[in-house]
Symmetry: D2
Subunit: 354 residues, 4 copies
């Protein structure tokens, strides 16, 4: 860590490679000077970045709902790194530390922020969400209060994956999963597989569902025994009844089927983003069963829990990781899951020689 | 009350007129012998019965969703009466008392009942829901634990209207309305006008919305100052933003518009029954705003609160009452609101000479 | 099970040995005829009964607070058995089944019962609580809705211990223990060791504390690594800080010390019964830290969860069990824990030849 | 507002009189230069300041618990004022506005702040709490996010009293007071009378209790009809039973008596600060009744609600106000309530000629 005490020096000499999406499907690498950390920020050298479905979606379509990529954008928001320099009001003692980076920095002052719901802050700056650049690069500057020290026993990849794990933690928290609750997790992508592990860790009896056999195999390797495959039998015909639905596909039919198998007073947490702004939902079931349906948007105050669950090995991200890619191979990373569905979560590792 | 001590005698001599729907739109009056109260039941002489939208719907269409009227059915479930005889295990001290009748009698033993959610009991017997007869008649027998003593200062009509008031109490309870919450109540039928009063009583700042001018007038007479008329401006264009939606129309466009004006972390309580089993809902808004959407089905443990709110004059049912009809004029009562929208709640009063 | 179809026959011939406490420290065995199950009851042959601290307390002192043993009383309320005969309105299909017996049968109709808090019913009949006899006997009659089918893979002892496990489930439920919560469980008696396992199953990071080395050893054998021994260092000086206190000793100094190590917004659940009606509590800490302090009394709706946790081996009662005693050795069972503190939970097994 | 555009000019010329407590019972007035607002602060000219029990306590005893007045301290933390100058990063558009001043400014970054519990921030700076000076002066500088615009129809006194009203709002929020809840408010000082009004506004049926006849008279003038006077009959003997206790005296006997009259599942919110660090509490009642006991410390996110309740005249502070005093008469203000108990809330108004 001594080396970084000359961080200012280093910064002037070093170069920051940044992978930018210039249009759907097209990436370029720019070499730029290092960012100067703001008053409350750190300069962070990126160690590892998970590829998220939203990155893939931006890469393919150039937009997600109302978020449109208009200028070249650096993607990647599930990241970890090492603090290399502190801004003037950031704690200098943390320079040199490995950190998990929470990508959203809220305003801190609005009604939502002050009520503990900073994920709903309208002025949040969130990595890789236009117009804010992300972490497929060598260095970023980030607010000191949204980076978390990583215990030695955790890897850089694990630290990066605190981000999707946070989504899973948030889902179970919203659903108040308790021991003995029957929980259906629809969709065995990264979010689903992490949400399912958290629900199990809370004591829930978890059924996971996916249409892709490779994904169900990964679920199996994580110890899930109750697997549902809609190609074999539809949820509606499966005889399944659950207390909680954690919906991670966003597919209308699945949302509907999942709500349909909820017991009275069941709780449905919607995590998967629907491609459409509106969906046909089974309103009669929702009313007669007094179903509680909770929208979720990102997460708040979850990083300490994510690090703890990983540290105590209550959640395993190992089987999810599907390859490591250097900066020059980000396009490959973005395409990996589609080409091989068992690669649940490809990682971008800037330090990798390609 | 002395008179009723010869209740058994009376029962043998008296006759029970019962207004039965034999097919959509067609009612007949049968004269029958009085029901014999079961082990835990009372025999109750009906004083007053409110006409509910569900009665009107059965009367017109012969069904509500999966509930189909197959045999002749007595409608009416918002009722009050006087206890005239006690079954062998019912408390005989209550004979002679005026009571508000909670129409749903649950099994008392299932998971839902034991968890305090008896409204979700699958074995509930609910007045005027096929195949259980209702209260458009002179006498019914009803469980001793689901009739509530009525204070002297409350009228029979008020006692009967504890039923729709319960729906309003339940809605605000589900939404946890607190002082300073902005609340939008869509639909100024009886449920909407009662729910709005309860929300106001909890400290909420209430906006009421309806497309029918006569109903907005009634709202005004109840002291509501913020009125929204969708014919003048759509909710979407109104600039309204609220914390809570209490949706009492069931109309898809209104549900959607109402959810659309919710602030982040807003809560939507669905009270109005949609005619369709499925509805197009604004899923993107629900997710990005972390909206909580709660289905409601009837109510539980609300009658004491309803009586208390009426007793303390925190809720006023007077302006809602739209005429009183004897048993021979039940059809008129069922048609009254359609013919004159200012008649929010027609009442059937069996003792009325027609 | 065929044999029991002649249950009525059997009942007439069989004898019911009942161990009665006639005065503090003195037991007698009476032989009586079998009880006749009431309308909604089963006749149950007792398989196994755990010895509870309250049994020991009644045995020594003849009272617990306001509950005074005035007539001879059969102790024992943590029991399992086999249904041998059904009352006229009890489901006859369950005759022959092994069941866990929930000892408290509430009225089912009061405000508490109807709100899902049947443990607070003032008219509850609870085994081994004066004047209701308990289960240190061959047969009891019990309400059909408060006995639960036991899966084949669970033992009679496990079924019986659903009762103290319920107390542990209730404690964590009241505290809303979530992943990453730091939880301190004070007292490693049966309740403490079960509550600690449930808190861990919900994802909590659990510290257990006890002054008796043998009990800490049992905790260790259950996999707990963070052990606190107040003889080595007082809680106050331990540097421990937790989010949740599950207090299972009832000892004033421990309650106080435990509350004292709660973080801001900490939650204290009081399970251990204090010997005194009043205790000195650290009110200043409770106020400045906005501590939530929850009294607990028994449990509600926990048996299905208890059976599920045992079935899935998320909770282990094996290391707690400290000997099995026939009916003639109940006094030995009641004294066992005091003589050998590693015998956390002695069991009474009526079928054992002594 | 034009006048204030030369605020910097004004500041250099004007003088800031500050009333300092130099030792218990002794005040001096210093004339100082105006404070310079920090980066995110406003310079505010004080309009009105309520005298709080804590001010009186500091004035008499020089300390409250662990908070000890070591250097001269300006008291007063219930204040309103006018913004006269904006710090470099504070919104300049608000200069000239009348504001209610929330006295506690938290760090904004700790776990408590980020979870919406900023009142529990360990680094909060709170007016008139050593070593932070308060508002018995002409000018203070205060964080821009903790001052709230005051509607024209509200007076300066009303704006200042948002502070104690916030305590009352917080109490009812913590107790989740709902319509029909029976609520006992013990202590009719300013906090009690405000808390009682908020509980009533939420629909609660409120009983107020105090030993001082003048205070009960003020309660009566606020419309409370159920008054309890412990000199006439002790709570224990009163037959009162309530769902919620809002305890505003801190007196051990009253806390105990109040908890004692709670119904099963009752909720006790402790608002009044006890003089001792420990109190004898009725632990047996807390346990057998599953009482929930909540400590409270100040409040969070209540100012908008306070302003709304005052604006809609749902809470009336008029009858509480007991005289207005200029800066030279602060000692009189601090002594007023003791000399005349009907003076519930004396106000200090710096602009008053004495």
């Amino acid at each position: 860590m001594r080396a970084w005490q000359e961080a200012g020096e280093k910064r002037r000499m070093d170069v920051n490679r940044r992978v930018k999406m210039v249009s759907p499907g097209r990436l370029v690498i720019d070499e730029e000077s290092l960012p100067v950390p703001g008053r409350n920020e750190y300069l962070i050298r990126i160690s590892s970045v998970g590829v998220c479905g939203s990155d893939i979606h931006y890469f393919k379509h150039g937009r997600i709902g109302n978020f449109v990529v208009e200028a070249p954008l650096v993607l990647g928001h599930e990241s970890s790194g090492v603090i290399v320099e502190a801004g003037p009001e950031a704690d200098p003692n943390r320079v040199g530390r490995r950190v998990a980076i929470e990508p959203g920095v809220p305003c801190g002052h609005c009604e939502q922020c002050r009520s503990g719901r900073y994920n709903l802050c309208r002025d949040v700056k969130f990595l890789a969400t236009p117009p804010v650049d992300g972490a497929f690069c060598d260095y970023i500057a980030h607010d000191q209060h949204f980076v978390y020290d990583v215990p030695d026993s955790l890897s850089d990849d694990e630290a990066a994956l605190c981000e999707p794990l946070s989504v899973g933690i948030w889902a179970s928290h919203k659903a108040s999963v308790e021991p003995d609750d029957r929980v259906l997790v629809t969709g065995c992508g990264p979010i689903g597989l992490l949400a399912a592990q958290v629900a199990r860790e809370r004591g829930g009896r978890v059924i996971v569902s996916d249409i892709v056999p490779e994904r169900l195999e990964v679920a199996k390797s994580l110890g899930f025994e109750e697997l549902h495959d809609p190609r074999a039998v539809l949820l509606e015909d499966s005889g399944i009844e659950v207390d909680v639905l954690i919906e991670c596909t966003g597919v209308t039919g699945v949302v509907r089927g999942g709500i349909g198998v909820l017991a009275p007073a069941g709780r449905a947490v919607l995590v998967g983003m629907a491609p459409e702004a509106q969906q046909m939902l089974p309103i009669a079931s929702i009313q007669t069963g007094e179903i509680l349906l909770a929208g979720t948007f990102r997460y708040a105050n979850t990083y300490p829990t994510a690090l703890d669950l990983l540290l105590r090995k209550r959640v395993d991200v190992g089987p999810l990781i599907g390859g490591r890619y250097g900066l020059s191979r980000v396009a490959d990373a973005l395409n990996a899951s589609e080409q091989d569905p068992s690669r649940i979560k490809p990682m971008v590792v800037p330090s990798l020689a390609d």
